[in-house]
């Protein structure tokens, strides 16, 4: 449905997107992931015919964005990072105007407005001024705007940014419900969002494509070995920490044991397995046989978050910034 072949966007002083290629099949939801300034918005703007690439080709539903922009625009619904709303208009008026822009007229237009209002749940604010809406409603009206002409492809630039946690959940559900009928690309720097909504991820960083795969594959591929967190207490008396460590190291398949914490007769270890070995059952048995109390055993598997940081960060400063962004995004 969407085909991007080696697109590059250069400005006078820097390259925003550098030789990025990927494909999206019909009906898929793809998460477009990257830290701020990675080139997500630029790529989306190229796909929506807002700006042309300096090099490379992109096509939507078989139409080239450079050669047949009208055909592409008819098939795309686009929600930019700030929803393109006219604050002085009423919601209904606004949807009518956007519908007309997208080529709907008369009965079709009225029908689509009713359908979309129902789907996005904004029927109750149809006669309200957009300026008076809450942030969450504005975002929904933005989404309704993108959906009004029932496009094959939806391109959503950070659809949940600035919403409260409840609204984020609702928006995610909404987007998930749209898959199948529509092919969706959504950009975000919030990782749980991708894990929750998307089937595939395209990760870019500093304008370059870093990875593109399904969410499962990506976490699996990056993991390789198993990380297990083990917490041990003494049955009675004081805990012999080094004895526990020795016991754990003797378990078959363990490659490394790191002591994380040792406080109040309670020790916390992180145990790493050899490639492809499952060691949790053996660890539990070893601790119990050694006469210690096992208080916690958890798989510290690699989340998409770890994958993302590993792929996109080249130094600590960047990592800290991304984490801060993620927190901000989630808190907002």
């Amino acid at each position: 449905m969407i085909k991007v072949e080696g697109i590059t966007k250069r400005y006078a002083r820097f390259t925003a997107v550098d030789n990025v290629s990927f494909e999206v099949a019909k009906g898929q939801i793809v998460g477009f992931l990257g830290p701020n300034g990675a080139g997500k918005t630029t790529t989306m703007r190229i796909l929506t015919c807002f700006q042309p690439p300096s090099e490379g080709r992109a096509s939507v539903a078989g139409f080239d964005v450079m050669e047949q922009p009208m055909e592409v625009k008819k098939r795309i619904g686009y929600l930019p990072e700030t929803p393109p709303l006219y604050p002085d208009m009423e919601v209904g008026e606004y949807l009518e105007f956007v519908g007309k822009l997208k080529g709907l007229r008369g009965n079709d237009l009225a029908k689509r407005i009713t359908e979309v209002s129902g789907k996005i749940n904004i029927g109750d604010v149809r006669t309200k001024l957009i300026a008076k809406l809450s942030k969450g409603y504005k975002q929904r009206v933005g989404l309704a705007q993108a959906l009004i002409h029932n496009p094959d492809v939806l391109i959503l630039d950070e659809p949940t940014s600035g919403l409260d946690p409840q609204q984020i959940l609702e928006t995610r559900e909404l987007i998930k419900g749209l898959a199948g009928d529509h092919t969706i690309i959504l950009s975000t720097h919030i990782l749980p969002e991708v894990e929750f909504t998307c089937e595939r991820v395209v990760i870019i960083s500093k304008g370059k494509l870093v990875a593109t795969d399904t969410v499962d594959n990506l976490t699996h591929r990056m993991r390789g070995s198993e990380n297990v967190g083990v917490e041990v207490e003494a049955r009675e008396g004081t805990l012999d920490v080094s004895a526990v460590q020795r016991k754990l190291e003797q378990v078959a398949g363990v490659s490394k044991v790191i002591l994380r914490e040792d406080k109040n007769n309670r020790a916390n270890f992180e145990v790493e397995s050899l490639q492809g070995r499952s060691i949790r059952a053996d660890l539990a048995r070893a601790v119990v046989e050694g006469g210690f109390a096992l208080t916690e055993l958890k798989a510290a598997g690699m989340s998409l978050e770890d994958v993302f940081l590993q792929l996109t960060s080249t130094d600590k400063v960047d990592e800290a910034k991304v984490e801060e962004e993620i927190e901000k995004g989630e808190a907002a």
Binding site: P52, P84, Y86, F97, L101
Partner: protein, 250 residues
């Protein structure tokens, strides 16, 4: 065509849902009324001195109409400054550009919307002048010609103002620059006060005053009509180029 009308309608509506339209109409009504009052007082004075009523067209309609040209210098920037600057600032320009409409449809729609607003303002003046028809018997043809002139001149300045609004995302900058340009275009004919040939003549020809005056006198001159139509075309052309450049720079 229907895309153009949809955009024009939205544009005209947006003046009336904000205070802009009402402020402009109120100020214009006040000034227009004041000008008409002065002209009519002058007319009465002249009628008293002469034998019987003086020429209503010459003493009331002509001065009021030629003042309209000056007034539009102040009004045009206020109409055009938001046209593109506001869309660029709020990001709604992305909606317009990514919709299946051509750049030219967007531009013509916006220009027509601005023309609609300008027409409403000119309507206020027509209301003032309608009293001369109620109580007197002036010739309506010079007035119609003058109105044609005002539309052409307004259309030209609106097109230039629209272009300027497209070059910035700041409405104040757009408004101030447009005002400056209007004033320059208005006074280009001053060049001939100290030099009567060469570049001064060219500059003087670009002056809007010179071209508007014949309309104010009741003469439809092809030369002047073509001049205004060319400026409208130029303004629209420049806006189109500027909008296109947004795609490469943005």
């Amino acid at each position: 065509m229907s895309n153009i009308l949809a955009i024009a309608q939205k544009e005209l509506k947006s003046y009336f849902v904000s205070p802009i339209a009402y402020a402009l109409l109120a100020i214009y009504a006040l000034i227009s009324g004041w000008f008409s009052l002065i002209a009519i007082a002058n007319f009465i004075e002249m009628s008293m001195q002469g034998q019987g009523p003086a020429d209503l067209n010459g003493y009331v309609i002509a001065p009021v109409v030629s003042n309209a040209g000056v007034l539009s210098l102040f009004l045009i920037p206020m109409i055009t400054m938001r046209l593109f600057a506001e869309e660029k600032r709020s990001g709604t320009i992305e909606l317009l550009i990514t919709s299946p409409v051509t750049d030219m449809e967007i531009i013509l729609g916006k220009w027509l919307g601005a023309m609609g607003m300008y027409a409403c303002i000119l309507g206020v003046k027509l209301f003032c002048l309608s009293f001369t028809f109620m109580f007197g018997n002036p010739d309506w043809r010079p007035l119609a010609t003058a109105y044609l002139g005002m539309f052409l001149q307004g259309g030209a300045l609106l097109a230039i103002g629209m272009f300027i609004s497209n070059t910035t995302r700041n409405q104040i900058v757009a408004g101030a620059t447009t005002f400056g340009m209007c004033l320059l275009f208005w006074t280009f004919d001053w060049a001939t006060t100290f030099k009567a040939d060469g570049w001064a003549k060219v500059l003087a020809y670009l002056s809007l005053t010179a071209h508007f005056n014949s309309f104010a006198r009741g003469v439809i001159d092809t030369k002047d009509t073509v001049f205004f139509l060319s400026v409208i075309a130029l303004g629209i052309f420049l806006t189109a180029r500027s909008l296109e450049s947004l795609r490469w720079r943005a």
